[in-house]
Symmetry: C2
Subunit: 349 residues, 2 copies
DNA sequence: CTGAAAGCGCTTACAG
DNA sequence: CTGAAAGCGCTTACAG
């Protein structure tokens, strides 16, 4: 026999008032209920240990202090990586501050190892006041749907939708990458290459854009290479073939293997080749060097995303600025220095 | 203006039936509704894109597929340690399997950095079908309360309540510690000491009990030392003073510093002193040795705890065995070998 | 086989 | 200031 949960009706009986009055004490302005009645109700609540049933609240008014957290993959993966953790550190801390609980949608349907945001999963979202979305394998179609007639949500990480205005809190990769490019320029580099997957993902696009914009502003020629399917040796070959003195790595996790390959070919980092990573990899690099690059403010992104979501829920107006772009801190490191002196000033004629 | 969603009433209107009939088509056995009617309803559902409102379902059914997860500290701590992670890996995987969502009680009141399970936090628990409890700073009084009139719950880790029968899924430290003791005995050790905090926590008590039982069974004298407040050097002093050839460490995280102190005093592990750790520390030891000891099945504990909880929720009977003790796998390692030969056979007279 | 009705536990106009 | 009532969108006995 499940211990029957205390309801407003029980409290009302104890306090000798109507159920509606209990609700008013709980929800309305203090002066909606007379002080004496109010007192009795409050006491009854204390004694009974009453707590509002959020499901009923939800149905009646549509809010329940529950924030949904939807991730496209398990929040707690078996393997080594732990992609979501830094974001969730920020999210949890902010949730504590806001006084909301977090509902992890672990019941979502899984297709090809990725959780889907459609069907029952999608319907389940409406349980919460609003929802945080995290992951790198989102389906833009699903998002468009959600935007159209779903509960409020905020994506952690910049996401763009062709026709829509998707709320997000992202990191300013464009600017951060530009900062790194300018660091190279200040050191006197002229031939600075960009290596990354030529992918449509915003986080990668933004880095590429940042590179292009900064290079163009400096009137330097760009050299972009697709990292996909290339071995470290092949990449070093590209560096040499294009006489690059600097290399930006969008794929920061490959930094160390590329440096090794360069070393094997007699190219020392940073003496002969300056390198920088555009963001820290999930799994810290096993490296003897302090890599130059920038730090992604993941915890802050999580916290701000939740803060923005709460704002959206509370105002429910289109007025609020729905996008936030947080700055990345540049890390000086030691892998970028002046380029080697040109062997033949004026070119290699 | 939130886009109005299609309800059963809408579907009923389209199909020319009652709202209840729509519900029956959706939920009851196929033959509760005549094939023709059923067909019309199904068509209307298809056309309208109807999806049941899970909030309303929850309210009507009295269950909501939400499992609460209460941790005494943040699930995602800032610092290095990550105590809860392995448990939550198991919990999340099991939740996927069971089709339930996880509600993290991040709104709980915090006192001295620990979340409390009383007041509003306590009340909030009842919104879930049942709740998983994790942490090492539980208040037994709060637990007793919960047991009395709270929702079903299961503690991850063995917990005992003087008067109550608290459901848990734990690791069998008694047996695992006994296994380690027997490993020492098989190697010929006779003077085996136990070092740990003499604390009331079950996990520590169990290790001590396991040690005592196994030693008594072998008719060996026990030597127990409180690690609290003792420096590594002082501990080594105890080892020497008591002529121990073997040492069990309940506080596995101190293993390496004690080994160093022993080495500094000329005691090599395992040549002069065999050591074993009773469970892996949260943060992996920075050590050149493979430590002998046992592995705590944390993921499995999480998964089983959730499975047990669901069972309790579904059966709602006292019949179910409410306790599960999982075996710990012994790790052979290389820190336990035969004790050094006695200098004077027959004693040191 | 199907509909009308009550109920899940709340919120919120609406009367007094 | 307070109560009676309607309603949120479902499920589920209970009558026909």
């Amino acid at each position: 026999m499940p211990p029957a949960r205390v309801t407003q009706a029980d409290v009302a009986r104890m306090a000798g008032v109507s159920q509606a009055t209990v609700s008013l004490v709980l929800n309305a302005e203090p002066d909606r209920v007379g002080p004496a009645t109010r007192q009795r109700v409050l006491e009854a609540i204390g004694e009974s240990g009453y707590a509002a049933n959020p499901v009923a609240q939800s149905l009646a008014r549509g809010r329940n202090s529950m924030i949904g957290v939807f991730t496209y993959e398990p929040v707690f993966p078996h393997g080594g990586g732990d992609f979501y953790r830094p974001f969730l550190i920020g999210i949890e801390a902010e949730a504590e501050r806001q006084g909301s609980d977090l509902l992890l949608f672990t019941s979502a349907e899984v297709v090809d190892g990725k959780r889907r945001l459609s069907g029952r999963s999608r319907a389940r979202l409406v349980i919460t006041d609003g929802c945080l979305l995290l992951g790198r394998t989102e389906d833009k179609g699903e998002l468009a749907h959600l935007l159209e007639d779903g509960p409020p949500f905020v994506f952690v990480g910049r996401r763009r939708l062709p026709g829509g205005d998707l709320p997000y809190v992202g990191a300013d990769y464009i600017r951060a990458t530009g900062d790194v490019v300018r660091l190279f320029l200040e050191h006197g580099h002229e031939r600075i290459g960009f290596l990354g997957e030529m992918d449509a993902r915003e986080s990668l696009r933004d880095r590429l854009d940042g590179y292009r914009v900064a290079m163009r502003a400096a009137e330097m020629p760009t050299s972009e290479f697709d990292a996909a399917g290339r071995t470290p040796d092949e990449i070093v070959e590209l560096v040499v073939g294009n006489r690059l003195t600097g290399l930006l790595l969008a794929e920061s996790h490959r930094a160390e293997e590329i440096r090794s390959a360069a070393a094997a070919r007699g190219l020392d980092v940073p003496r002969d080749l300056s390198m920088a990573v555009l963001g820290q990899p999930e799994i810290p690099l096993d490296t003897p060097l302090a890599w130059t690059g920038f730090r992604i403010p993941r915890e802050e992104m999580g916290a701000q995303a939740l803060a923005l979501l709460v704002e959206l829920i509370e105002t429910r107006t289109k007025q609020t600025e729905r996008h936030r772009l947080l700055p990345c801190l540049i890390e000086a490191g030691e892998t970028v220095t002046a380029p080697p002196a040109r062997s033949a000033p004026g070119g290699d004629t």
